[in-house]
């Protein structure tokens, strides 16, 4: 994203902050019938995925729209800083959300043959929430990042 568009997005976010607050009331009503979200469930999933290792912030970058109009299909790109050589590469990236009915999004397994540790996909978000990614490196270290997406129309509709 260029600097100019980044700045434009920032001011747009300020403008829309009020509108998002209003929409929040509607989303809560809708969620009363949905499956309850277990707090901390996403952390359990991550801990299990990396075998309980501690994650340090950094190296991982999540690119998502700050405001996702349609929660059914939110584009997401996760990239990890790594030379991707046989001795130093990303082994896996685990992605979870903290407010979907189920926290898991996906696990992506890389090899040095990828040349670049980056994956793009489209995900479902039932409401505004954080997306958290853990990257497991070949040396055993774990790095993490999080990003928030504001969702105006949830992605769990029936």
């Amino acid at each position: 994203m260029s600097l100019v568009s980044e700045m434009a997005a920032l001011s747009r976010r300020r403008l829309l902050a009020g509108a998002a607050g209003l929409a929040g009331g509607l989303i809560v009503v809708r969620d009363a019938s949905a499956q309850a979200v277990q707090p901390g469930a996403h952390q359990q999933v991550l801990d299990k995925a990396v075998g309980g290792k501690k994650a340090q912030p950094g190296k991982v970058k999540i690119r998502m729209p700050e405001i996702a109009e349609n929660g059914n299909t939110v584009p997401m790109t996760v990239s990890v800083e790594s030379p991707m050589t046989a001795s130093d590469h990303v082994k896996a990236v685990h992605v979870v959300t903290d407010n979907n009915p189920r926290p898991e999004v996906g696990s992506f397994y890389f090899t040095p043959a990828n040349g670049k540790a980056e994956v793009s996909t489209r995900i479902r978000l039932s409401q505004t929430m954080n997306v958290i990614a853990y990257a497991e490196m070949s040396d055993g270290s774990v790095w993490s990042s999080r990003a928030e997406a504001k969702v105006t129309i949830g992605g769990c509709g029936g």
Binding site: E104, F108, A113, K116, V119, S120, G158
Partner: protein, 106 residues
């Protein structure tokens, strides 16, 4: 019936990391939705995706219901030799969707 589409450059320079974009049609029924009679619609998703390059696994993904319908997946592979890339998606019911693409490395 599901169909898969793959997009990658037909030719690449040796050592270049090329982007491979994949798109497959599938409802990815999350198991969270209810039908008109308020019964839960059972989960049915593609839960696994594997890409092999000349028979060797280079990229794999495990997918949860939070992956959108018609899963899109883009990733990189370093072009090392001419050959075939094979793509396999596995459904919850055990069936698979397969697609392959050729690449010429110069």
């Amino acid at each position: 019936m599901s169909t898969a589409r793959i997009r990658l450059p037909a030719t690449a320079k040796k050592g270049e990391a090329i982007e491979i974009k994949t798109l497959v049609t599938h409802t990815m029924e999350s198991g969270q939705r209810r039908d008109a009679q308020n019964n839960v619609i059972p989960r049915k998703i593609l839960n696994k995706f594997v890409c092999t390059y000349n028979g060797k696994e280079v990229f794999r993904a495990e997918m949860a219901p939070a992956i959108s319908a018609n899963p899109y997946m883009a990733f990189f592979v370093t072009a090392t030799e001419s050959g075939t890339l094979d793509f396999v998606w596995t459904d919850d019911d055990g069936s698979t969707i397969k697609e392959s693409a050729k690449i010429t490395v110069t």
